[in-house]
Symmetry: C2
Subunit: 442 residues, 2 copies
């Protein structure tokens, strides 16, 4: 069975929906409404007639129509029966948010087994239990928390709800947006491998972000990942790199973190890109989601800040990018057009007197040079008209990575304008170059 | 002469103050007013009678009273004469923001020599030229841009105006604030060494952030830095670490970046803490400004997010912190007080059902344990009352590093509350641990 019912269901029931603000059963139900889900939506709660204006049913069995997806937020001990009831309604997919299963010990493990047995019997697929749910912005289905509705090209699969939610929040804040988000939880049934396979073929997903602590079947993971990477970039943050980290993984999700060197080699072999932290995972995915892919490693740094240009240069060298000499033609064009204080080298320092017209000239000259594959464009004090200049050249297809820092409230405004126009902006030259370098690993 | 006149002048004249919004001479003059400078303030401009409500004088010589500090924003060719005029007024200190000096070639170098000669003659000290000015929040003197007025304990000395301004902006945004900021520019006279010496004895500065591309006198720098580090932490970001970075440094400020290994060894020898990027420089300084210094390397990670706890654990191991076992007493206390699903280990995972009362119990138990030197406290979904719990234990003196991520708008609110109460909050567990580890290098 395809996982489509998790992301594009025609109808959803929330078992354990609650009238009480602050309770998870309320928040998740409210988020589905607030995210603008267009299908049928049924709250299930024997103690309520209506929740947030929707008619409430005592049991899933009482719902008059078909239900494709069910979200479960009731105590663990009720869950096996709930799944059995779902079977009677021909439900296709269930997201079990409730905790109290395998992660709590032997009794919980037995409950998880019973739940799974009911699911298998009924042909129901399960995400979770003990998870932060699923968000599918393309369907307006935020069966998770916090409420994130900004559409985008990044899909997230995370063994940690919080880590995934952090990515979602940053992407929403910057207007980069999210396509699909899945918190794996105990991954009793659906796991990272199947999701990777699904998202690789999902046309609205442009890049896949994975936070994992271990994989269930290394060989299968490699096989699926290799295939996925052929279709789109896969960026992984792996928890449990160190010995104590791996011990913590065992305690957290009962996964074997495995020997990190083996993971590292495997990721390299199949072409998975590895991030060193949550923010780096975000930086890289933001680049893949928003930047045209660079055609090679040749980079030119242009800057109005000498210092920030130097930091970008250091980072480029350290990340093994190729800081090319300015091509002769561009150099002679720019020699005529730029004031004499501009250093016609790489980094190209337009100095503090830089104007948006000067950036325009430089981007035009570099845009015509096929051997310049990408441009790191640092803006110290945002100047009037700079956003329009960036947009104009950004649309022409060259990989331009805008970095804005130190411009106070003007920077905040210009940054917001660019983000609204789908141009990603970085705020630290080192982070920007690291993200750019990662794009070339795909 | 002490550098005090740059930071706490009784009177300031701005030569080149302008009525025209958008011009630097307007922005800087306006920033000094808007920052609330309490001393006498004189705009100097032969073409204006009044600027922003202040009586304007055609020349510094026409100002009726003494002037202690002068800010210069006129074309370079006029600057030597301006300095000579300042000499006639017994001015003590001049900040030359104007560019067009040494950085532009031989003619500019000659102008810089003439300017310096006039300054020496008159006993005037100079910061700049070609710099982004000075900000002294303690005096309400923002002779720089953008406008930053949030008071704090971090003083910044930067060879790059933009890099320094980025630090200022982030510190202001998060309420961490800034004490003093100096953009070195061409450092024709006052340099990083003298400023380090001054700030080491400045009682309102708690930590010194340096961005440098080279030092003029390595031996003297070492000597002064060693002394400064005895008084307070000094954190350095060095531009020009790589070969191409060093070439760019030579072009930017005509400094020799030097061999990076030598800098690295020298920094270690005198106890300077080195940052790898602008954000890391900020993260570390924020920790020094706001966190009680940890008494040792023993750290406990507490978390409501298993994943984020694992990432903090990995980072702690990699940064050579000591993830101690939970002390027996704390463990037995907590065994009674916490629900059974909490993993009583390090990282201590309170799970997604964590409440602020649970965090309170844990912090109380750990607070009583002298062998726990610091606590990395990760909050996945901010829960009601958590800010009060953090504040209570933060004030008790233990080094608590709050990390909030993935909580959406609730996180934004709680974070702002903590920041108003002078508690620093980090948003990436890896960045938080790196900052904490740096605190121990002092």
């Amino acid at each position: 069975m395809s996982l489509k019912s998790f992301f594009e269901p025609k109808s959803v029931a929330v078992i354990g929906a609650s009238r009480e603000p602050g309770k998870l059963g309320h928040e998740v139900f409210k988020n589905i409404i607030d995210a603008g889900f267009k299908g049928e939506l049924y709250p299930i709660n024997p103690k309520a007639d209506e929740i947030l204006g929707r008619k409430c049913y005592p049991s899933i069995k009482d719902v008059p129509s078909d239900v494709e997806l069910v979200v479960v937020i009731v105590p663990a001990r009720f869950v096996p029966q709930v799944i059995a009831d779902c079977g009677l309604k021909a439900v296709r997919a269930v997201i079990v948010i409730s905790s109290g299963f395998k992660e709590t010990g032997e009794a919980g493990m037995e409950l998880e087994r019973q739940m799974l047995a009911e699911a298998h019997k009924a042909g129901i697929r399960i995400i979770g239990p003990n998870c932060q749910g699923v968000n599918s912005t393309t369907s307006g289905l935020c069966a998770s928390w916090p409420l994130v509705t900004t559409k985008g090209a990044i899909s997230i699969v995370s063994q940690s709800g919080t880590v995934g939610a952090a990515l979602e929040c940053w992407a929403a804040d910057e207007g980069v947006g999210v396509c699909k988000f899945v918190a794996l939880g105990n991954k009793s049934d659906v796991d990272e491998i199947e999701l990777l396979e699904y998202l690789a073929d999902d046309s609205s997903t442009k890049v896949i972000a994975l936070y994992i602590e271990g994989v269930r079947d290394g060989r299968k993971f490699m096989e699926v990942a290799r295939d996925a990477v052929r279709k789109k970039p896969v960026v992984v943050l792996k928890g449990g790199r160190t010995v104590k980290g791996a011990e913590a993984v065992l305690s957290h999700t009962r996964s074997l973190a495995g020997v990190d060197k083996i993971f590292d080699a495997a990721f390299k072999q199949v072409g998975i890109i590895r991030a060193g932290g949550v923010e780096e995972l975000y930086d890289i995915c933001k680049g893949f989601a928003r930047l045209p892919p660079p055609k090679g490693k040749n980079v030119v740094v242009i800057t109005s800040s000498g210092g920030a240009g130097i930091l970008a240069t250091d980072a480029s060298e350290e990340m093994d990018l190729n800081l090319v000499n300015l091509p002769d033609k561009a150099r002679s064009t720019l020699k005529e057009k730029l004031p004499p204080e501009c250093a016609l080298r790489n980094p190209l320092d337009l100095t503090g007197s830089a104007t948006s017209q000067m950036y325009d000239e430089v981007l035009a000259a570099l845009g015509a040079e096929p051997e310049v594959h990408s441009v790191v464009m640092i803006i110290g004090d945002p100047m009037s008209g700079i956003t329009e200049v960036i947009l104009k050249h950004f649309k022409a297809g060259k990989t331009i990575v805008p970095v804005m820092l130190g411009g106070g409230s003007v920077e905040v405004e210009e940054r917001a304008k660019l983000q609204r126009a789908n141009v990603p902006v970085y705020s630290d030259p080192t982070r920007a170059v690291r993200a750019l370098a990662a794009l070339m690993r795909h």
